[in-house]
Structures are given as C-alpha cells and as structure tokens.
C-alpha cells in the first residue's frame, strides 16, 4: 500500500518524542483522512503488525515512541472540519487530531477558522463566532506545539487545569478507529456504562461488551491508566487511553468565552514553607485564580545563571537574590476592577502567610504577561539544555521528571517527602509545576549514570508513597512507556490485568500503542 512506507533514515526523528526516548519501527504512514487511517489499520490488522500512533511527538512519557512495527503519524490530519452552536450559545468545533494547539489559539484569537469545505450550518456558526465574544479552548499544556489528538490521548492538563480541569470535560465528541479498522463514534452524554459494564456499537454494527476495571480513581488530578467510574460516559474511556484502545480520527471540542481580563502575579517567598502555607490559604480564598504554578530555589537559581550567561535568556526579569521560591498566580475575571479587588485579597494573604506584597510582579499588560510567560517557560527549557549538555559526557543519562499529584491535604507532606529523600540521596534537582493541584514536576538532574539510577529508584519509592497518600503516579503526562511500572504500584497487578482485558476486547492482538500503560506481557495470548 502506497500509504505505508519503509521507515528509512529520512524518518529517523519519528523514532523519538520529547521524552528523549528512542525506539524503532519498520514502516511509517502519514494519513490525511479517516478513510486512510482505517485502510492502513485494516491492512496491518490482517498481519497483526504493532501500530504506534503519533501526533506532534511532544509527549514526555514516550507514548509515541515505537517498539517495532508501524508508526502512524497523524500530524498531517490537521483540518478544521466544522462548527456548531448549541441553543444555549456554546460553540463546538470539530477538528482532525493533528491540529496543533498554537494554531487553534491563533485562529480563535482572530475569530476566523479555516472553513474550507464546511457545510452551511458550520459556515453560519462561523459567522456567529466572528461576532461573538472571543472564544478559547482552555486546556493549556506548556507545550503549545502539542496537537489536539495527542492532548486527548494523554488527557493533557497544564497550568489552567486548576480552574478548568484537564482536557477530558472539554471534549464533547470523538471518532475512534479501532485496530481492525472499524469505527466508534462517541458524543458526550449519549452512551453510558451500566455500573462497570459498557457496550459499544461500532459503525459496522458490531457490539463490543466491556467489563470495566473495578479500581477507584484517586480524587486528584490524574492521567494514570484508563478512566473508569460507575455509569461513566463511554467517551471518557478513550480520553487518556494513551493510544492503546484506538486511533482518534476526529474530536469535537467545546469552546468557552475568553475571560475579559487576565493578570499574572509572581509571588516570591524566602522559604518553601511560606509558599506552601500561601497555597493552602489562597486556594479557598481566591475565586478568580485560574493557575498556581511553583518554582523552587534550584529552578530560580537556574534562571539566574541563564540570565547572566546566555544572551538567549538575557531578557529574563531580574530575580531578587533574597527570593528562595516563587508562585505564579493567574487571575481571570470579567473586569479589571474585579481583578484589582482580588489582587488586594491576594496581597493580604501574602502578608498573612510569610510572603510580601512588595516581593511580587504584577503583569497587567501584554509586555509584562509575555515576560512572565518567558520566565515560566525558561525553566523547563533550561533544564533540557542542562541535561543535553551532560549527555555529551554521558549519553546514558536523560531527564528524570516526576508527574505525581496528591490530595489537597497532603501538599505539605509530599513536599517534605521530596525534600528529605532528595537530600538523603544527594541528588541535584529542580522542581516546578502545578502547586494548585498539588502536582509538582520534580526533576532529578543526573550528573552521571549512578545519579540516574538513584533517581529512578527514588521515583519508584515516591510512587508507593504518593499512592499511599491517595495520589496519582501520573497527573498529566500520561503513563506511556516510561511510567508503566508506576501504574502497577498505583493500582496493583489485578487492576492492571483488568485494564489489559479492556484493551484486548477492543484490540484483540494488542497492536495499538504496544508498551504503553502496561508491559506487553499482559497482552500475550491475545483476547
């Protein structure tokens, strides 16, 4: 088949994703339509070839890294398919999975979507969109070159998930091609499980009965394993399934009006304890907060060094030498007056919890917001550069970043766990991330292979402790291949087997996303 090509040297980059892990595959395809996806799947199903689905390859858990077989890259499925407006005024946009988030945002800001080949209903809705208040898609992973299909596959989150939740509730429809090439069309609210039993009907009329896993999901931000709950919506099983249950060929996204005003406030503290106390006090008190993002002392030091030594980072705002950590709070509201009241409330909370109104940066203009965005994004970028530098002397090491979350009342406990165990292990680290969701990315910065091994051991031990706190081993990156051992820790062997049974009911030869979520050994023998 012409769509399937040998994965030659020219396609080497498709063996990797942003996790820096490297895999192998024999063939690759770049379908542009649902029909092409299904045709490729039918051909590969006949010979039981493993298929790794890729989007923009920005994932951090190696979910898009192939382990042999075929790579199906969906980056060329990037069309905007249509728009509808519900009777209550909400807009719903249909896109192919390869649409990139930054492009979507650009079109929404301009209130003009690429409407080629749209039907009359969609064109009418597009005209209404042009006249309506600006709309946004609220899911905000740091990496805006991510594509919508990949974001749904890992149930992406990001900073604003504090206010808007992860990707899941904003996806109102999915079309999913199964491994055999058959298709499931799902719209939120139309098909629900009975307890833990779900029956899907494919486009060809085939009925597939699924016994859903029996575990209870943690009440935290969570992207670990299949989403299940009693009487769940069928669509939610596929969101966050890490490319293991089917290939997303189309998404319908629910848009929401953009806030009229958004301000950013960077709050600097002299101790981590004060930052934690502030978070705990501010969460219930600040109703207009849409994000709480943390940067620890090591992260600030990395930025100070970059600002001094690299022209690329010289535009970073100068950080007070007294500052030991920082929390960025985003406030969104209906007017600047409303935000001003909230800003003063925030200031009072700072004074009460060991911070200071003076040790803050308030961004109320585009220029200042851009400076804050640069500051926030410079941290992971700088850490990646640091690791790349160290890999030159020892290619076996790579970045080790945690992605665990805990319930609100365990924030101080988990911070204490991180600090004590990192110090005991003598490891260099930097931590940042979504403190509002008790979800930090603690990055071990290995200096050598020994550090790398110790870091991995540390993460395994954290998985146990975080699970005991009622937390999740992956809060937003997905489990992919890198965190599958954590999944067994979090749910236990039996529940992982239950997940594998769901997969085999939909993908009887275990072709899709092999190695994601669980060891392929769980799939041996097939359905």
């Amino acid at each position: 088949m012409a769509l399937i090509k040998p994965l030659s040297e020219n396609y080497d980059e498709y063996r990797r994703d942003e996790s820096r892990a490297q895999g192998n595959a024999e063939t690759i395809s770049f379908p542009t339509s649902e029909d092409e996806v299904r045709a490729i799947l039918r051909e590969l199903h006949a010979v039981r070839t493993p298929v790794t689905v890729q989007g923009a390859r920005t994932g951090l858990a190696a979910g898009a890294v192939p382990t042999g077989g075929h790579v199906m890259n969906l980056s060329r499925m990037n069309a905007y398919l249509g728009l509808r407006r519900s009777s209550d005024g909400r807009f719903f946009l249909r896109v192919q999975p390869g649409v990139v988030l930054s492009e979507l945002r650009k079109h929404l800001r301009a209130r003009a979507l690429p409407a080629r080949d749209w039907d009359s209903e969609s064109l009418a809705a597009a005209q209404e969109l042009a006249q309506a208040p600006e709309q946004i898609f609220p899911t905000d992973p740091t990496e805006t070159s991510a594509c919508l299909g990949g974001m749904a596959a890992c149930n992406a989150s990001g900073a604003r998930s504090y206010a808007y939740g992860p990707m899941r509730p904003h996806v109102s429809g999915l079309r999913v091609a199964l491994a055999c090439g058959d298709l499931v069309a799902l719209r939120r609210g139309e098909l629900k499980a009975h307890g833990r039993t779900l029956e899907l009907t494919t486009e060809s009329g085939r009925r597939i009965a699924l016994d859903l896993p029996t575990y209870v999901m943690p009440q935290t931000k969570n992207a670990s394993g299949y989403f299940v709950e009693d009487d769940m919506d069928a669509i939610d099983l596929f969101i966050g399934s890490d490319g293991t249950l089917g290939v997303i060929t189309e998404l319908e996204l629910e848009l929401m009006p953009a806030p009229a005003a958004t301000w950013g406030v960077s709050c600097f503290f002299t101790t981590e304890a004060a930052a934690v106390a502030f978070t705990q006090a501010a969460r219930p008190a600040l109703g207009l907060a849409t994000a709480f993002e943390y940067f620890d002392a090591a992260a600030l030091d990395i930025l100070r060094t970059q600002r001094e030594n690299s022209t690329a980072f010289s535009a970073l705002p100068a950080i007070d030498p007294e500052a030991a950590c920082c929390i960025f709070v985003e406030l969104s509201g209906t007017s600047e007056d409303e935000l001003l009241d909230e800003l003063y409330r925030l200031g009072e909370l700072l004074d009460e919890t060991g911070g200071s109104e003076k040790a803050t940066w308030v961004a109320r203009t585009d220029v200042d917001r851009e400076a804050q965005r640069f500051f926030r994004h410079a941290v992971p970028e700088s850490v990646n550069m640091l690791i790349d530098e160290r890999r030159r002397t020892d290619p076996t090491i790579t970045k080790l970043g945690s992605d665990m979350s805990v319930p609100d009342d365990k924030l101080a406990d988990v911070m204490a766990l991180y600090r004590a165990s990192l110090s005991e292990a003598g490891l260099e680290s930097a931590a940042w991330g979504h403190i509002g969701n008790n979800h930090l990315h603690v990055n071990v910065l290995p200096r050598n292979a020994r550090d790398y091994a110790r870091g991995k051991e540390l993460f395994e031990s954290w998985a146990v402790r975080v699970t005991a706190m009622g937390g999740a081993v992956s809060a937003e990156h997905g489990v992919g291949k890198l965190k599958r051992s954590f999944l067994a820790v979090m749910y236990g062997e039996n529940h992982v087997r239950e997940m594998a049974r769901v997969k085999l009911a939909l993908d009887p030869y275990g072709q899709l996303g092999r190695g994601n979520l669980f060891d392929p050994a769980y799939l041996e023998g097939g359905a």
């Binding site: 406030v265 705002p317 003063y344 700072l350 940066w361 308030v362 109320r364 203009t365 200042d368």
Partner: protein, 265 residues
C-alpha cells in the same frame, strides 16, 4: 537628583486608525501602551534612582506625558512601577501636534517641575518613528544631548557616562548634567509593578495640566503650531521579487552588479 522621563502612550496594536482629515493617528486610549523605547528609558531612571537611594541620596523620578485624559492610566501604571510623581499635559489645544509642538508642550511642563538633572526619552516612538523629541527638548533647554544610549555606565559628580551608538560604532561618552539622553529599546527591561506598588499608585497624585496652566504659547502648540504638513498616509509597498541567475560565477556576479547599479541609479 531629579530625573524626568518623557513617556508616550502608543497603540498596543499594529492596527491603527488614521484621521482622514489631519492624517494623524486616532488615539482613543483603548489598548494604549507605554512606548517600548520610553519603557527602557524609564527603567534606566528607576535603576539610577535605586542606586542613588542605596547611597542614601534623595532621588526622584517624574514621568511626563502629553496625551488624552486616558493617558493617566499609563502614568498611574508608571507610578506603580516606581515613579515618584507624574504629570499629564492634556488639553484639546495640544491635539494634532507634530514633534516641535509636542516639544514645546513638554518643555513648558518640565519647566513647571523642580529643576531636572537628567531628562530621559526613548530614542523614538514606535508609532511616529521620528526620534526628534529628545534632541528638540535638549534644544529647548539648551542642554547637551546624547542619543542612542544603550547603557548608563555611571552618574554622579555632575556628569553621566553612557555607552551610545555613533557613526563609528558604540562609544562611551561623558556628558555634564543636566543633559538629555535618548535611550534604545534594548538598554533595559522595564520592571513589573508589585502589589504594593499598585496599591500606592491608586493614591498617587497624577497632576493634569492644560496649556494655560503651564504657560504654553498658543501659537506653538497643537495642529496650528505644527509646521509639519502630512500630505498623504499610505502603506509602503514592500513587494519583492526573486531572480535566479544562471551561468558562471563571473556571469552571475556581473548580472548582480547590473541590478545593484540599477538600484543605485
């Protein structure tokens, strides 16, 4: 030390509306931002003030702008970032001013303030691109002027030492104070306000003065006081073409030289 910083509110967007009669930019205050070059000059002033205060010296920074009443928002924001005082020159009589008329208004406003040791301006404004206000102010006050300043090396003992651009490249020059400096965009990044600064700025007095208040000569302000006549406004043609040359290197060089000759003539 008293430092005066001239600030202009410019459109925050590249999409601006032009008045078809006067050919001047329609300024309604919406989405207006501080001119980026002025922001850089303002930060240099704040850094200098920080240094002087750290040395237990008094130092004040006054921001001055000529603009519509909505410009007060920009000046109050400047107070939140550390300006000590703010003066807004706002009067219908100022409307439609070119740089010379603007300079007269600014000079009258600055004369009404305590004597300035330093007057800082952005090198130019991103909307007008004239780069004339700084040198014109220096002329109005008969002060030395250093343009294109990228770094304030030192200030004290009656002089400033700055790094600036020149026809020969970057140079370091010393100028006696008082003097006028015009500053590049890259010289400094304007600090963000703190919450404490935002609170203080709400109560900060932003003085608003009209033409009469500052003793401006009616014949030298506004549209009527502006010798500049804008005949036409248009979007410049930026069309380009690509031509590929064949032949030997010498033939290609000759063809290229022919095109360059044509451009020159």
């Amino acid at each position: 030390m008293h430092i005066v910083v001239c600030i202009k509110a410019v459109p925050g967007s590249t999409e601006v509306k032009m008045d078809p009669e006067t050919h001047t930019i329609v300024r309604d205050g919406r989405e207006a931002v501080i001119n980026p070059f002025d922001a850089s000059a303002f930060e240099l002033a704040l850094e200098l003030a920080d240094a002087r205060r750290a040395a237990d010296e008094d130092c004040s920074v006054t921001v001055v702008s000529m603009g519509i009443p909505a410009t007060e928002r920009i000046l109050r924001d400047a107070c939140a970032r550390g300006a000590t005082d703010a003066l807004l020159l706002s009067d219908r009589a100022f409307a439609g001013a070119d740089t010379l008329a603007t300079c007269h208004a600014l000079a009258c406003g600055i004369r009404a303030l305590p004597a300035a040791d330093l007057i800082l301006c952005g090198k130019m404004a991103v909307d007008g691109d004239t780069a004339q206000i700084g040198p014109e102010l220096a002329g109005a006050f008969d002060l030395p002027c250093v343009t294109d300043v990228s770094e304030l090396v030192s200030a004290g003992n009656g002089a400033v030492v700055v790094r600036c651009g020149s026809d020969e490249g970057p140079v370091v020059v010393e100028a006696p104070m008082p003097c006028v400096l015009t500053v590049t965009k890259e010289a400094a990044q304007l600090r963000m306000p703190s919450i404490a600064g935002v609170r203080a700025a709400e109560r900060a007095p932003v003085a608003v003065r009209g033409a009469e208040d500052v003793g401006a000569d009616p014949a030298r302000i506004g549209l009527s006081g502006s010798p500049t006549q804008v005949v036409r406004c248009f979007v410049p043609d930026r069309s380009g073409a690509v031509e590929l040359f064949d032949g030997t290197a010498a033939q290609q060089a000759e063809a290229l030289a022919g095109i360059m000759e044509g451009v020159r003539s």
